[in-house]
Symmetry: C2
Amino acid sequence: MVGMARWEPNASQRLANAALELFVERGYENTTVVDIAQRAGLAKSTFFRHFQDKRGVLFGEESMTEQLVTAIAAAPDDATPLEAVAHGLDALGASLFTDERRALVARRRAVIDAHPDLMERETLKGASLTASIARALAERGVAGPVAEAAAQLGALVLKWTYERWTGSGNEDGFGDLARQAVSDVQAAVLEV
Amino acid sequence: MVGMARWEPNASQRLANAALELFVERGYENTTVVDIAQRAGLAKSTFFRHFQDKRGVLFGEESMTEQLVTAIAAAPDDATPLEAVAHGLDALGASLFTDERRALVARRRAVIDAHPDLMERETLKGASLTASIARALAERGVAGPVAEAAAQLGALVLKWTYERWTGSGNEDGFGDLARQAVSDVQAAVLEV
């Protein structure tokens, strides 16, 4: 039918993969949206149905905050604030940070680490994520300062886990690494 | 006696106060060592007996790491890793971060926050402090990953406490604020 967009299976994933390949191969600044679409075997217009711009490929994952917040809300009633956050991290390990997506996420991290302006945006995204965690905990009835502390601990655990998981040579799953990091934090507070 | 340096009481403190006053009044980059010595009523040579350069006034406090590490080593045997760090923070509250020094430390913070290169140095200093805390805990027999986690929690608590303590309108002591932050972290891990 004339004028109707053709539906491409996994277009978003294919475009993200193509973009990250190109960012690594020829540099982020030397890659255009046309290059990305071409590499993915898709039209430029298809790119713009999925992403606002080239940067959007790196920062489009709005669903991360959503998934984390939903899983924190669904954590068992008798979970401590940190355990509720750990429940959220488990959810990320089962959706965004799967073994299949590790190479892609590691490539994304390498591109961001090489560009101060992208790192700045990543830091801002992290701060907004931490604030969302604190709000999700407050909605579970956790007192303000404790929710704030737990959110910061959660952000710390997420950062460690993300760095280890995307680190070269690692083969452990995101969920296992997150559980290990949470248990190190618990030991730091409890162990004599 | 010819050639013998005159001993000036509290020269280091007077120079630090003068420097921070000038940094705030006319800007860090518009202040010279000669200005600082003059404002303090001391000779330029006296300045260089206490500090390497203008930057040294802001980053000369090597004693902070030393005091923290010493107090961590001296914490009771039955202290958890986080409590041992809290013991170190108490020591800072009794020596460097006293009520008398709050205005000076707050001014130092304002100067650093206004200069990206100074902030970068402050961040590096923080990373080195965190590593020192982890080593001090490992020497107490805390396992590597737990010592690392406790050091990062300690760095987080130190950062919050420092920001609150130097924040405008605050009148609470550093030690009290640190204890409150530690207890928020404990509640985040323990409270159901």
